[in-house]
């Protein structure tokens, strides 16, 4: 498995998109921390951008890389290697390199400018989001044979979680505004990794006081250590389940 990862990394290091992504994150974070005197404010601006960029890049990069390395996978399948190891090796290579990009692009600026719990929370939710969307992208790529379909599906998933889902929740809130919906919304939010990541970071900030009654509820339920533990567990489930399904499909896939 690690041998497969080794060759994936060997290939990915020279990938221009990944380098551009790293540089972009680095410049962006440095600018934010440099321009804003209050590092907490900078983190809240970064949060908005990271929550959009990280899932998007993870999905598109992974899907296109997977289809481009189809030949490599074909070559490996005819060798004495287990299919599970081939797929997990590929995953480790891609997810690992995206994580390294985040460590360089976000982790280093945080260490330089604002080494505090809030910024670190942003950092590790960023890493979890990379892992989650890489495994969702793997699922899309393994489930479809056609590159255009796979790409479309992963874009759709990204669009759904970052735009449509919030709209749906707002719609529900609006149409059932006569009922007490706080707990329902809380549960619904947990089903969207991007929202959950955002809330985990926001609860570390003072701004959560501005979110009104719902914010207070989030704080009482998710703000405790127990709540944080549960939300991280949910994010981990988001990353592991698609990967397991993906392995299962790949074992039966015809190449």
């Amino acid at each position: 498995m690690l041998k497969v990862t080794k060759y994936v990394l060997h290939d990915i290091v020279r990938n221009k998109i990944l380098i551009a992504y790293t540089v972009f994150l680095f410049v962006l974070s440095c600018c934010m921390f440099y321009l804003d005197e209050n590092p907490d404010k900078a983190v809240s601006s970064l949060l908005t951008i990271i929550n959009i960029i990280v899932p998007l890049v993870s999905m598109i990069f992974t899907t296109s890389y997977f289809y481009n390395s189809y030949e490599f996978i074909e070559l490996l399948v005819a060798q004495p290697l287990k299919r599970t190891n081939i797929l997990l090796g590929e995953y480790l290579g891609i997810a690992g390199s995206l994580t390294v990009a985040l460590i360089i692009g976000l982790g280093i600026p945080i260490c330089m400018y604002a080494l505090n719990p809030l910024a670190l929370t942003l950092f590790y939710t960023g890493i979890l989001l990379s892992l989650i969307f890489t495994s969702l992208a793997f699922l899309c790529s393994v489930a479809t044979r056609d590159k255009a379909k796979g790409m479309g599906l992963s874009l759709l998933i990204w669009f759904f979680f970052s735009v449509i889902y919030d709209g749906l929740i707002l719609g529900i809130l609006y149409s059932f505004s006569d009922y007490p919906l706080e707990k329902t919304v809380l549960v619904l939010t947990a089903f969207n990794p991007i929202d959950l990541g955002r809330i985990i970071v926001m609860l570390q900030m003072d701004v959560s006081a501005l979110m009104g009654y719902t914010g207070a509820l989030y704080k009482t339920i998710l703000g405790t250590n127990w709540g944080i533990f549960i939300s991280i567990a949910i994010l981990l489930v988001w990353f592991i389940i698609p990967l397991l399904v993906c392995v299962k499909i790949f074992k039966k896939k015809n190449l």
Binding site: K3, V4, Y7, D11, R14, N68, S69, Y70, E71, F72, E74, L75, L76, V77, A78, Q79, P80, L81, K82, R83, K251, K252, K253, N254, L255
Partner: protein, 239 residues
């Protein structure tokens, strides 16, 4: 050595293999023939575990190939169209295969004869179809495996390279290896193989040694013999 039982495979509504059963033994050179889309490549890919059959079993030295992939250590495979990672150089590709299989190169004859080491710095994407074929052939033989599976080995090779490859196949046959090959060039099959497995619409039409086939039909040339056999067959069926 390889035993196939009632192998079935369909892609969607298309039934590609409709219950194939046969055995292959060491020392045989078997040519899998048949019209286009008769399921030859699917059969080969099933043996290699690249296509997962719907039902039926493939046993390699008595072990089910579905359970343990390590039987592939004993197979050298040359695909119809060799597709390799674009960014990789030829030299890196060979190094990688040695690393992944955790084996040393045992048989570099083809590598030398095709003069590949002089091109070790060329990236795979810049190679012509013929050079890719040479790389595939050299890779298939690299670890001196007891089974060779060659899917249209000489298609796209220049005459000199094709002769080198044929000589190599002869040599491997002498060593008592099992060689499976598909080809559309009858003279080549006649020259290399000693047995024919003829497939049609996902089923085995016949499985004879070349000598027997020529005897039965009374033809001297393999191409004609096959035509004759199929004609006689359809004549018998229609009456």
């Amino acid at each position: 050595m390889i035993e196939i039982n009632q192998l079935r495979k369909s892609f969607g509504k298309l039934d590609v293999l409709k219950g194939i059963s046969t055995t292959f033994e060491p020392g045989q050179v078997i040519s899998i023939l048949g019209p286009n889309a008769s399921g030859k490549t699917t059969l080969i890919k099933s043996i290699l575990g690249m296509v997962i059959p719907d039902s039926g079993t493939i046993l390699f030295e008595g072990k089910d190939t579905n359970i343990d992939p390590y039987y592939k250590k004993k197979i050298g495979y040359m695909p119809q169209i060799g597709r390799y990672p674009d960014n990789m150089k030829i030299g890196q590709l060979f190094e990688m295969m040695k690393d992944i299989r955790k084996e040393k190169a045992l048989d570099e004859d083809l590598l030398q004869q095709f003069d590949l080491p002089s091109m070790f710095n060329k990236p795979m994407r810049t190679l012509s179809g013929g050079t890719r074929q040479k790389v595939s052939a050299a890779l298939a033989c690299l670890f001196d495996p007891p089974v060779l599976i060659l899917d249209e080995p000489t298609a796209g090779l220049d005459p000199v390279a094709a002769e080198i490859l044929k000589a190599k196949i002869h040599k491997e046959k002498e060593k008592g290896k099992l060689i499976l090959l598909t080809s559309h060039i009858m003279s080549e099959v006649d020259e290399l193989a000693d047995q024919i497995l003829y497939m049609m619409e996902g089923q085995i039409k016949f499985n004879y040694t070349i000598a027997d086939l020529k005897d039965i039909t009374g033809e001297n040339k393999l191409g004609k013999a096959i035509m004759q056999y199929l004609k006689a067959e359809t004549y018998v069926e229609s009456n």
